[in-house]
């Protein structure tokens, strides 16, 4: 690397970090986002509010209700006395679900019949409703299984031995937090690169730069380096926070993660440079980044599985570099996957990186002035 290029890179860093405002803009939002996402973005159900309306008075129903009372997923917020209380309670979000045990429950069971249990769930948030229903089902299934074995005295023809690999307690934080690595690496890299040229254009320093003997590719590299280093640096910080703060296990090898991270950041830099060659002002650059980030995050599978999207949207996700890196980082973290396992994600991402960088170089040369 020539001294000229080195001086340019040093200057880019000074320009980025000497200014208090831009330093804050690079450092504070990611930390806030990490905390908010890390804690708020969860699909686990804890202390879901449950009200119980038990019309039966037998031991059987008490036993069943005891299971719910002891479950960490539910928090019993009330015992209802009449059917009329149910609707207003759910309507005003007083309880997420009401468990209603029928009048003849214990008596029916004693006669070898079934006890009817109703789960009435607030479906306003359909996802929460589905989760709650799943918990209810699994408590009842376990209960049934035990009861059958007890009453018939024979064991069932088969039993389930379920194990979850990679995330035995199925904590969704383990899923979300590594995803934040991909998310924030993208936001930070994009903002740093997209804004750096626009900032110089607005300040008039870009002309001053162009009349020096620096070559276009040198300027391009100079502009790409802060994004690369800040992006990779911030990603490393979040990896550390994930491991030491959020206690997400890092099973895989960091050495397999970093090449993928660098390719990912490079592909984002290409996009950032493209945005920056199109925008004359900071505001345009900011809007451009925003218009890229929102769909890129939504389509990446960060919060919702890609498999559930309609086909045309699934097709779009193949263009989203975050989609690939997200898979890679999660798999390295939890599965300990080596690069031979995520080759299928690595090559399309590399292709995107090559494409965005070449396009950016072309645009840069043609729209630089």
């Amino acid at each position: 690397m020539g001294p000229r290029l080195l001086a340019l890179i040093v200057k880019e860093f000074l320009a980025l970090f000497r200014d208090r405002k831009s330093r804050l803009a690079v450092i504070v939002p990611p930390i806030l986002q990490l905390l908010i996402f890390g804690y708020a973005a969860t699909f686990d159900l804890e202390h879901a509010t449950l009200a119980i309306y038990n019309e039966d008075s037998g031991a059987f129903s008490r036993d069943l209700i005891g299971r719910f009372e002891r479950s960490p997923a539910f928090e019993v917020v009330g015992y209802l006395r009449s059917e009329e209380e149910i609707k207003p309670l759910i309507d005003r979000k007083g309880a997420l679900l009401v468990l209603r045990v029928g009048e003849q429950c214990s008596a029916n069971v004693a006669q070898g019949e079934s006890c009817a249990v109703q789960a009435l769930i607030d479906g306003r948030n359909s996802n929460t409703a589905m989760l709650a229903l799943n918990y209810v089902r699994s408590i009842i299934t376990d209960f049934n299984e035990e009861r059958i074995e007890q009453t018939t005295g024979t064991s069932l023809p088969a039993r389930l031995a379920i194990r979850a690999w990679f995330n035995p307690n199925l904590e969704s934080r383990w899923f979300i937090v590594p995803g934040i690595v991909a998310l924030l690496a993208m936001i930070v890299t994009l903002v740093v690169t997209a804004l750096s040229v626009a900032r110089e254009r607005e300040a008039g320093t870009f002309d001053q730069l162009l009349v020096t003997p620096l070559r276009p590719w040198e300027i391009l590299i100079g502009k790409a380096m802060p994004g690369l280093i800040v992006g990779v640096g911030e990603a490393s910080l979040i990896v550390a926070a994930a491991v030491y703060w959020f206690r997400v296990p890092l099973v895989g090898d960091l050495l397999t993660l970093y090449p993928a991270l660098i390719i990912y950041v490079l592909s984002i830099i290409g996009i950032g440079l493209m945005i920056s060659s199109f925008s004359a002002t900071l505001q345009q650059a900011l809007l451009g980044s925003f218009l890229f980030i929102v769909p890129a995050v939504t389509l990446s599978g960060f919060s919702t599985p890609i498999a559930n999207m309609p086909d045309f949207m699934q097709a779009l996700t193949y263009l989203d570099p975050m989609r690939y890196f997200l898979t890679i980082v999660r798999r390295v973290f939890l599965e300990g996957a080596g690069s031979e396992y995520f080759w299928n994600d690595l090559w399309p991402m590399s292709l995107i990186a090559v494409a965005t960088l070449s396009l950016a170089t072309w645009l840069f040369r043609h729209r630089m002035y």
Binding site: P3, R4, L6, A7, L8, V10, K11, L14, A15, R18, D19, S22, A203, G204, T205, D207, Q208, L209, L210, V211, T212, P213, L214, R215, Y369
Partner: protein, 597 residues
């Protein structure tokens, strides 16, 4: 602050008094910027009389804008009282604002609104009745010469037209007191003259009182009274002639036909009795410390020189007073390390039928000129004349539509990047990295220009020493005083010792003293063989050029030496023509042919 001058702080007496339109009494205003307290106005008292134009004159940072904003009720003073049209501007800002008109320095035209829409907005805001509008609009637009542009977006008007539209918007409802903050800054001479005509018309026909601030010293003479402000204090308040009278008998014109004008000027400015030496045509205008004619001891022996007294101007008083105050010992001479003799021979810059088109608009329309080595060559023209576009094409910053241009035999856009090491470039507005320190900027640019090792260190030291930047080495360049920003920009452009120096409006927004210093430095560079291409809209700066072209509407109207220009196009004024006369003459002739064509 003690002053030996006899200029009074109270307004001149004489005519029968009607109540003053503005009374400031003991006004103090301070700002806190990054924990530092800055005194913008320090115990200012002054009265502005009705029915005339009062000029508020002072260099940048003197406190002109702060004073204007206080009068408009947009700021509140820390101490003192302020009455506008008999109303307390601190207690009743709304009542004051309802009666005055105020045009800020950067008038807030909505550039995405048309001329008509801007007018409608301000008519609505000022409560002009709908029935009164057509007549008022017609009147104002006719006065500003904007009748044909009602549907055009304000952002697409020329600089001069924008200023006139700003003024028109302020006048949509005739105010009794009009405050104009630097209305003529960056405006070409023709528009400037038109603006002044509007102002005179308002005072004479509508009986308006006007307070107008300006950094152009030649405008002082156009005011009925002048308030001279510097460093937040009022140095004097009187008729402009009363100021010039202070330096009566101390102004001279020195001619030495055998000596080049720059050499003469440099020699004279080394003379201890000389306060100021300014090139004017082929002669040098001198302000001496006392009433004795300047000694010519610094001139080469046996040089024939003729010294004649000339009438003093306001500017002479200004320079004489402020130079005394700032007691500068600056180094006006820049010594480049190596003498530049590489460019002997043919023309350094050639421009042939250069065209730049944006859509169907010709920003530069078949422009041709040549610049010889070691010459200071000027591109003169109003905003939007195509100067900067030409300039950017020469520097390789903008693709050429057709035609050709070369610098030192190369087209900078297509030549190898290393070719750019032969030019130095100073942009129109300060364009170094504001949040980097002076030293960091110098380090970066020296490396960018390929300097390394001991030579790089030497050149950085040279830049710090030559431009007196050592005390500021660790200061962020955005915090530098304006004059020092400019020095830093020049240092950056010169560190690699270029053969050709490009200066785009290098002195806009710089006060007269700093401008003199800057030109002295440029002159010394030209003497060492550096070719300088400079754009400017300050007409008097054209005097520094060896040759120049005057541009309008993307075309070259005339090419020649300043003297030739004045002679050919200055017209009959009954006095020695100025560059401004020549410019206006040329432009009017051009507009005439444009109208008939």
């Amino acid at each position: 602050m003690e002053h030996s001058t006899a200029v009074t702080d109270i307004p001149p007496q004489g005519e029968p008094q009607s109540p003053p339109v503005l009374v400031l009494d003991g006004v103090v205003k301070t700002f806190t910027v990054e924990k530092k307290r800055i005194v913008a106005l320090d115990d200012v008292s002054c009265t502005v009389r009705p029915g005339m134009v009062t000029g508020l004159i002072g260099p940048d940072g003197a406190g002109k804008t702060t004073l204007m904003r206080l009068c408009a009720g947009l700021l509140a003073p820390d101490q003192g009282t302020l009455r506008a049209l008999g109303l307390d501007a601190v207690a009743e800002p709304l009542a004051v604002q309802a009666r005055i008109g105020y045009m800020p320095q950067r008038f807030g035209l909505y550039e995405d609104l048309s001329v008509r829409e801007n007018l409608d907005l301000y008519a609505d805001l000022q409560g002009v009745a709908a029935t009164a509008r057509p007549e008022r609009y017609r009147q104002l637009l006719a006065m500003a010469g904007l009748e044909g542009f009602q549907g055009r977006l304000a952002g697409r008007l020329s600089g001069g037209m924008k200023q006139k539209l700003g003024l028109v918007c302020t006048l949509v409802r005739p105010p009794r007191l009009l405050l104009l903050d630097e209305p003529t800054v960056g405006v070409d001479p023709v528009s400037r003259r038109e603006l002044w005509q509007i102002v005179y018309h308002l005072v004479e026909a509508e009986g308006m009182s006007v307070l107008l601030s300006t950094a152009y010293l030649d405008e002082a003479e156009r005011c009925a009274e002048v308030v001279l402000i510097h460093g937040g204090r009022i140095l004097g308040h009187d008729r402009p002639q009363a100021f010039s009278r202070q330096v009566d008998g101390r102004t001279w014109l020195v001619r030495a036909p055998a000596l080049a004008k720059r050499a003469l000027q440099r020699a004279l400015s080394r003379e201890p009795a000389v306060l100021d030496a300014l090139i004017l045509g082929t002669a040098v205008r001198v302000v001496s410390r006392d009433r004795r004619p300047p000694a010519l001891s610094t001139l080469p022996a046996a040089t024939e020189a003729e010294v004649a007294p000339v009438a003093p101007r306001f500017e002479d008083y200004f320079v004489a007073t402020l130079k005394d105050e700032t007691a500068n010992g600056n180094n006006n001479h820049i010594a480049l390390g190596t003498v530049n003799s590489r460019t002997n021979g043919g023309d350094v810059i050639t421009v042939d039928n250069l065209v730049r088109r944006f859509g169907d608009f010709f920003a530069v329309d078949h422009v041709s000129f040549r610049v010889r080595p070691g010459e200071i060559f000027g591109l003169l023209g109003a905003n939007g004349a195509g100067k900067t576009t030409t300039f950017r094409m020469l520097c390789g910053l903008l693709p050429i539509t057709s035609g050709a241009c070369t610098v030192a035999g190369m087209n900078l856009r297509t030549a190898a990047a290393a070719a750019r090491a032969r030019i130095g470039y100073m942009a129109q507005k300060f364009s170094l990295y504001g949040n980097l320190t002076v030293l960091q900027n110098l380090r970066f640019f020296s490396s960018a220009y390929g300097l390394r090792g001991a030579r790089r260190r030497d050149q950085i030291d040279w830049a710090l020493a030559t431009f007196d930047l050592e005390p500021y080495a660790a200061t962020e360049s955005q915090d530098l005083p304006l004059g020092f920003k400019q020095r830093l920009a020049l240092a950056v452009a010169l560190m690699h010792e270029p053969e050709v120096l490009f200066l785009d409006e290098p002195t806009s927004g710089v006060d007269p003293l700093a401008r003199r210093e800057f030109w002295a430095q440029i002159n010394s560079l030209a003497d060492q063989g550096v070719t300088v291409l400079v754009t400017t809209h300050f007409m008097e700066e054209a005097e520094y050029c060896d040759r120049l072209v005057i541009m309008a509407d993307g075309r070259v109207l005339a090419e020649g030496t300043p003297e030739e220009m004045k002679e050919r196009h200055g017209g009959a004024q009954g006095r020695e023509a100025t560059m401004e006369d020549a410019f206006i003459g040329l432009l009017e002739a051009h507009q005439l042919t444009g109208a008939t064509a």
